[in-house]
């Protein structure tokens, strides 16, 4: 029989594994009397020390991405310097990204970015994920980039961007601006921006934007096409 809770657990028929307060009290009294000092818990900490992740070889990465060997070397050196364990988890990611936006709160947008980079959804971004993402953005075709952006906006990865998802994204971007802006940020600004976005992108007015609508609308927009050249010489 298993003891549930503490109140009606009497010692007589209580099995050894009973986690009643009585057992606990008896155990702690025993420890108190025999003077067993607190166990050294430092050993436990050591167990979870360096979890090291090593990327695939240089050649494989060269095949999978559009970077040259030298570029990969440079990228890796930087990556390894900052993350010796070889992976970035969400907290570190947010920390890194927040350093570029001191005025505002970039943690939400960083989370979205993290989910977009973490293609296998294992909670960490390894060097391969990192480089794969960068390759698409910096060396991919315009369609590739738009695809990547769509993937970023589609928070639940179901192939549609709903207004709620867009609103979340928009709010997170506006959060990065912080408080001191000109003109002052109003509460409705993100919502209005989302409305105008949907106005432009949602062709069949069904309340969601699919990938085709998205790419089509973006290709028609001159501003977007021109701005795409931004990414040509980032690395």
């Amino acid at each position: 029989m298993v003891c549930v809770g503490g109140s009606n657990c009497s010692m007589s028929w209580c099995p050894r594994s009973c986690r009643s307060p009585l057992g606990y009290a008896a155990r702690s009294l025993f420890q108190f009397v025999t003077g067993t000092l607190a166990p050294d818990s430092v050993e436990d900490e050591f167990e979870l020390s360096t979890v090291c992740h090593r990327p695939e070889g240089l050649e494989q990465l060269q095949e999978q991405t559009k970077f040259t060997r030298k570029e990969l070397q440079v990228l890796y050196r930087g990556f390894k310097n900052e993350c010796p364990s070889g992976i970035v988890n969400e907290e570190n990611f947010k920390q890194i990204y927040s350093q570029f936006f001191p005025q505002g709160d970039s943690s939400t947008y960083a989370t979205f970015l993290f989910n977009a980079f973490d293609t296998n959804h294992d909670g960490s971004v390894s060097f391969e994920d990192f480089v794969a993402g960068l390759s698409v953005i910096l060396r991919g075709t315009i369609d590739d980039r738009l695809n990547w952006a769509f993937n970023l906006y589609d928070l639940n990865k179901d192939g549609f961007i709903t207004k709620e998802e867009m609103l979340d994204i928009m709010k997170s971007i506006y959060d990065m601006m912080g408080k001191y802006t000109y003109p002052a940020l109003r509460e409705e600004a993100p919502r209005e921006h989302v409305e105008s976005f949907f106005q432009k992108m949602d062709r069949n007015k069904d309340g969601v934007v699919t990938i085709e609508e998205f790419i089509e609308s973006c290709q028609k927009d001159e501003n977007i096409m021109r701005s795409m050249q931004l990414f040509d010489n980032v690395i």
Partner: protein
């Protein structure tokens, strides 16, 4: 994990693809010109120092960086060597590990730096050889404890029991009351109340004591003396009533103000309060008949617990209590071993003395008294052995008593000293924290100002059209250019611009802020920019001892105004001669252990943007008694969401001359 920002900048810029389709205005153009065997002897170049080793040596440990193909990423084909931009002194130890198979820990190096090197090279610290393992572990534990204290101080400090900045005016009365109880120094009323209760505790205790002194009794029984309490019953009753009223009032007020009543009721201090005042009420309501008067008298003993109420007023007392609590196992061991010895010796003495007539050792429990008195070397002499065997065993008893008692005592003493020093450190750190935060805010504002200046320059440049942007680009590095471009893209995406606080408040025309901002402008006299954030934050947590003096010296040299030039001045002051991007990465590196998150909901009323060349700040000396971080039982009274009122900057009305703003959380980022 050290976050070097320059490395991640390309990533952040790439991530801007997410803003592209949302931008309602065209994004600005990117800044231009920015833009890398059989057994043989390998050359490993670590920051200029060349190490040479056989390839086989490195291959001995294939699951480390140098032993696997990961080192190919660091190969420089032009020079044919592996280049690592790391510490060459520590690398020596890493390489020796490959050579000898044993990893040693350098004694004079910072343990955290060594840890980072090991992590980089993929070597697990468990491989440290036995000769160095103990010391490594000890130093690491010490560091971890210190870091934990740091974090505790950061999290618990501003909102916790040690906080001393006033709540914003809008907070509920209950919260203010609790704050007044916890930190008497926040308002004069609270201070007055604090001293009054202290006075009444003392009065009550003294009255209890004086009650029992025999006063000369006049009148009836002539030469018979009776206690003062019986001679002046009314006076003592009135005094007692007054004290109990005050204590009851205080208890009820605390109960009302406590953020968590259940927890308050269970806390030690409230129990002491309750025990202190209950006897009086029980005495009031219990009818005075002879049966119960005996019990009533016993209850009066509990009045002495009022003396424990002093522990709210005395930090030392609290530390003592905490020490005893934390040494519970040592105390338990002492008690247990003493009990064992007492039983053994009492039995022996009893049987040794059994034969003699008219002996005091009538039973074993009776012999306990003798054993205790002898083992603690008191030796009252009311029970003395008379047989020879009894005397022999008696002497053995007293000798062993000294040993048994002397053993656990140093442990307890060292615990006390450790906790006491911890408290002192916590107090000191709280004092320094404010200076640090002010400095950090100055540095942060530097970023904003730099960006705004960049924008203004760009504005000029656009107007001039054909003229090459000589002024702006010459004074800023490639890194800064790209960073500013990134921020510019964000502005265009959201169709809003970054401004600084003064323009913002002007634009809003908010008068209510005016009162507070005017106060805050006087603040920056505290803002010391003597050192870059690098010096203070990271070093302090890792290697505190060496750097305290350096910091003090740098503080003394501080005069600076926030501008690009000042950043350079900062660097030179800090002994930094590296060019722009280098220093920016370094100072961003510095933030690793000190991230406190800025929530943009918090109203940051810092006028740090406006910098005034100021005289250096003296180390604030604070000798206020304060509840140590250990006293959590009081309930920190901190609002549950960290970003709310507790993060508002406000002034501290303390003895320090220059008042400065304090912040719950600040994200450090400086270029």
């Amino acid at each position: 994990m050290a976050a070097g920002v320059a490395t991640w900048l390309p990533f952040a810029r790439a991530a801007a693809v997410g803003w592209l389709p949302l931008a309602q205005q065209p994004l600005p153009a990117a800044p231009q010109g920015c833009e890398a065997r059989s057994d043989e002897v390998l050359v490993v170049n670590v920051s200029g120092r060349r190490f040479q080793t056989w390839k086989n040596t490195l291959d001995r440990y294939p699951d480390t960086l140098l032993g696997s193909s990961e080192k190919e990423f660091f190969f420089d084909p032009d020079s044919g060597e592996y280049f690592f931009d790391r510490d060459p002194d520590l690398f020596r130890h890493v390489l020796n590990f490959y050579r000898t198979g044993r990893l040693h820990c350098p004694r004079q190096e910072c343990i955290q730096a060594f840890d980072e090197e090991l992590a980089f090279y993929g070597i697990v610290p468990e491989l440290i050889g036995d000769c160095c393992l103990e010391e490594y572990r000890d130093r690491k534990k010490e560091n971890a404890e210190r870091l934990a204290e740091d974090e505790e101080a950061e999290l618990g400090g501003p909102g916790g029991a040690g906080a001393d900045w006033a709540l914003p005016p809008g907070s509920p009365f209950r919260q203010r009351l609790w704050r007044a109880f916890e930190n008497p120094h926040t308002s004069t009323m609270a201070l007055v109340f604090y001293y009054v209760t202290g006075f009444f505790i003392a009065v009550s205790v003294i009255a209890n004591v004086v009650e029992t002194i025999p006063c000369a009794a006049g009148g009836r029984a002539g030469w018979r003396e009776e206690p003062c309490g019986d001679r002046f019953p009314l006076a003592f009753f009135c005094m007692d009533t007054a004290c109990v009223l005050i204590f009851t009032g205080e208890y009820l007020l605390r109960l009302f103000a406590a953020p968590s009543r259940g927890r308050f009721l269970r806390s030690v201090m409230s129990l002491i309060d309750a025990v202190a005042i209950l006897p009086y009420y029980i005495g009031l309501f219990v009818p005075k008949n002879d049966d119960l008067s005996g019990a009533f008298v016993t209850l009066r003993v509990f009045r002495v617990f009022r003396i424990f109420k002093f522990s709210r007023h005395s930090q030392g007392l609290r530390i003592l209590g905490y020490t005893l609590k934390s040494c519970a196992s040592e105390l338990g061991f002492l008690l247990f071993s003493l009990t064992m010895a007492i039983i053994i010796f009492a039995t022996v003495m009893f049987y040794a003395e059994k034969g003699t007539s008219k002996t005091n050792f009538t039973s074993i429990p009776a012999a306990f008294w003798y054993t205790i008195v002898t083992m603690t070397t008191l030796g009252y002499g009311d029970m003395v052995p008379s047989t020879i065997a009894g005397k022999i065993f008696g002497s053995i008893c007293s000798l062993s008593g000294v040993l048994v008692i002397a053993l656990p005592v140093p442990v307890i003493v060292s615990n006390f000293s450790r906790i006491y020093h911890q408290n002192q450190r916590a107090d000191k750190r709280r004092a320094q924290q404010k200076v640090r935060l002010a400095r950090i805010r100055m540095a942060k504002s530097g970023t904003t100002t730099a960006f705004l200046q960049y924008k203004r320059n760009r504005g000029l440049e656009d107007q001039d059209g054909a003229e090459r942007p000589a002024l702006s680009t010459r004074s800023s590095s490639a890194f800064e250019q790209q960073h500013h471009h990134l921020l510019h893209c964000l502005e265009k995406t959201t169709s809003h611009e970054f401004t600084d606080e003064s323009t913002f408040s002007e634009a809003l025309g908010v008068i209510s802020l005016g009162g507070q901002t005017s106060r805050s402008t006087s603040v920056s006299s505290q803002a010391v920019i003597g050192t870059s954030t690098r010096a203070s934050s990271l070093i302090s947590s890792c290697c505190p001892r060496q750097n305290k003096q350096r910091r003090a010296i740098r503080l003394a040299n501080s005069t600076a105004s926030v501008s690009r030039g000042s950043m350079q001045e900062l660097d030179t002051l800090a002994g930094h001669h590296s060019p722009g991007p280098q220093s920016s990465r370094a100072s961003l590196n510095a933030k690793t252990h000190d991230t406190l998150t800025l929530n943009c909901d918090s109203q940051d009323l810092v006028a740090a943007i406006i910098s005034i060349p100021t005289p250096p700040a003296n180390t604030p000396d604070e000798s206020r008694p304060r509840s140590p971080a250990s006293d959590r039982g009081e309930g920190p009274g901190r609002p549950s969401s960290g970003s709310s009122s507790s993060s508002r900057g406000a002034l501290r009305n303390s003895s320090l001359g220059p008042s400065y703003l304090l912040h719950n959380a600040v994200k450090i980022s400086s270029l």
